[in-house]
């Protein structure tokens, strides 16, 4: 029996220049931003759990917030930080904020400025920003015994003992909740040390890349809620009834996902029609590389 000739369109598709794909992705991003549809956003159970954990705290409760991200992942975590900070401020909570990422202080300062201005809060009366400290694990462990040893001054150089809001607050024991918004293994350190060793209730916000890895800790109640990626941030904004960059980006997120899903399906269909997609086979010889 003669071998089936591969379909012409399939071969041309397999050799598609990748810059065409780049243009499609750019259009899938820009068009929904320019012409928003505002598809409804429903909060998932894990984000709702995170929200409820913060919401249940009475006014005046101190919360330790570790915001650990840099510009490369700020798209996901900056809107999350702003939404969670605004939630804390609305509830009258007292966030003590720190960061373990050297390139983060500029971003955290902006997030605090945006959130505090929106909710009418003042530095050192309603929140404290301790700034950055190197060391990650050793800092997280050190916070269990003495915040002042780790952070003798706040970000602007004021000694902690000169800040009335910090009076009597010196370790995890003084914080009924720890919130970590992180794009790296720092989340693991907080789970191991703050949540497990020091038994602090903890809420975690993570980038979407990492979020799926933390479901075991949700099950074991080592973390009480999980906000994953920009979608999680959008869900939190929805629960807060605010519109930040996360919510603004959801239509674009939807279209990009649909585009990539269609590209994957199309790639497999094209490979099938070129005869490269055999059950258990490699099919590599027939696959075009495109440009």
């Amino acid at each position: 029996m003669a071998a089936k000739r591969p379909s012409g369109w399939a071969v041309r598709l397999m050799a598609l220049d990748r810059r065409v794909i780049f243009v499609l992705i750019f259009l899938a991003t820009a068009l929904p931003l320019l012409f928003p549809v505002n598809l409804p956003i429903t909060a998932s159970p894990r984000v709702k759990a995170a929200f409820d954990t913060v919401d249940r705290l009475p006014a005046g409760t101190y919360v330790l917030m570790s915001l650990d991200y840099e510009p490369d992942i700020k798209a996901e975590l900056q809107p999350m930080s702003i939404a969670v900070l605004r939630h804390c401020f609305r509830k009258g909570l007292k966030p003590i904020v720190l960061t373990l990422y050297p390139a983060a202080p500029g971003l955290i300062e902006r997030a605090l400025a945006i959130a505090s201005e929106a909710e009418g809060k003042k530095r050192n009366e309603d929140f404290v920003f301790l700034g950055y400290k190197s060391g990650s694990q050793s800092v997280i462990l050190g916070l269990g015994e003495s915040i002042r040893t780790m952070f003798p001054r706040d970000f602007w150089g004021t000694p902690l003992d000169d800040i009335p809001m910090m009076k009597g607050k010196n370790s995890y024991a003084d914080f009924p909740l720890v919130i970590n918004l992180s794009g790296s293994a720092i989340a693991d350190y907080y789970i191991r040390i703050a949540a497990t060793r020091y038994q602090r209730p903890m809420v975690l916000g993570a980038t979407a890349v990492m979020a799926t890895d933390y479901y075991p800790y949700l099950s074991s109640k080592q973390i009480l809620g999980l906000i994953g990626g920009m979608k999680g941030a959008a869900e939190y904004e929805r629960l807060m009834d605010i519109t930040g960059d996360a919510r603004r980006g959801m239509d674009a997120q939807s279209l990009i996902h649909v585009t990539i899903a269609l590209l994957v399906i199309l790639g497999n269909v094209a490979l099938f029609f070129t005869g490269g997609l055999k059950p258990g086979g490699s099919g590599g010889a027939r696959e075009g590389t495109g440009r």
Partner: protein
């Protein structure tokens, strides 16, 4: 940011995006600028946020204990010179010891004991018990897959195969979320260009 600063940020953004067409001098300029700026910011932040409050200001205040970490830090910097490298090992040994010491109880408590305890907890009531059974079976089958000391043949092989299926679902979920993460980064940049640089979208 002022108007000119926004335009500079937008121009640098486009320099990086030009790589999508092909590698070019604009992209390489932006890349090298980024590397230098990031390294410089790291240095400045370490000095302002760590060394100044924890060493300089404490020594100036009469506390001389910080001379010890300062000396160790200077030993670490000795790695820049071949002759000083052996001395730097003392400082490196100190902080490797610290992190190794922290790791053992932390991993044992949080990742071994806590997760094993949750793995063997009683099943959920009602129909949720099916999920509990699946979680336990999945956990055991994936652990079997990762145990390479026994060959994956016969019954062991069959269980390991089930483990692979659970792993494929987990990796598929991770891939879906990874696409979400990468898309978010692009959305942020395009939002900046359209809103802050070109003012085509209303201000936040």
């Amino acid at each position: 940011m002022s108007g000119i600063e926004t335009w500079i940020a937008a121009a640098l953004t486009l320099c990086v995006f030009s790589f999508l067409y092909r590698d070019n001098p604009l992209y390489r300029f932006a890349e090298h600028l980024f590397v230098g700026s990031a390294a410089g910011y790291l240095l400045a932040v370490q000095f302002q946020n760590v060394i100044k409050p924890n060493v300089i200001q404490k020594i100036a205040g009469g506390d001389f204990l910080p001379f010890i970490p300062l000396a160790m830090g200077i030993l670490v910097l000795g790695r820049l010179w071949d002759k000083a490298t052996p001395a730097s090992r003392w400082a490196i040994a100190f902080y490797v010891g610290i992190y190794s010491g922290i790791a053992i109880p932390a991993y044992l408590q949080a990742q071994i004991f806590a997760q094993l305890a949750d793995a063997v907890k009683p099943f959920e009531p009602g129909w949720h018990a099916i999920n509990s059974v699946l979680v336990l079976l999945g956990f055991l089958s994936v652990v079997t897959y990762f145990f390479f000391s026994a060959p994956h043949r016969g019954a062991n092989g069959a269980v390991a195969r089930v483990g692979i299926w659970f792993l494929m679902v987990a990796f598929g979920a991770s891939f879906g979320y990874t696409v979400m993460a990468r898309a978010s980064l692009l959305i942020d940049r395009v939002l900046f260009l359209l809103r802050d640089a070109l003012h085509v979208l209303p201000a936040a």
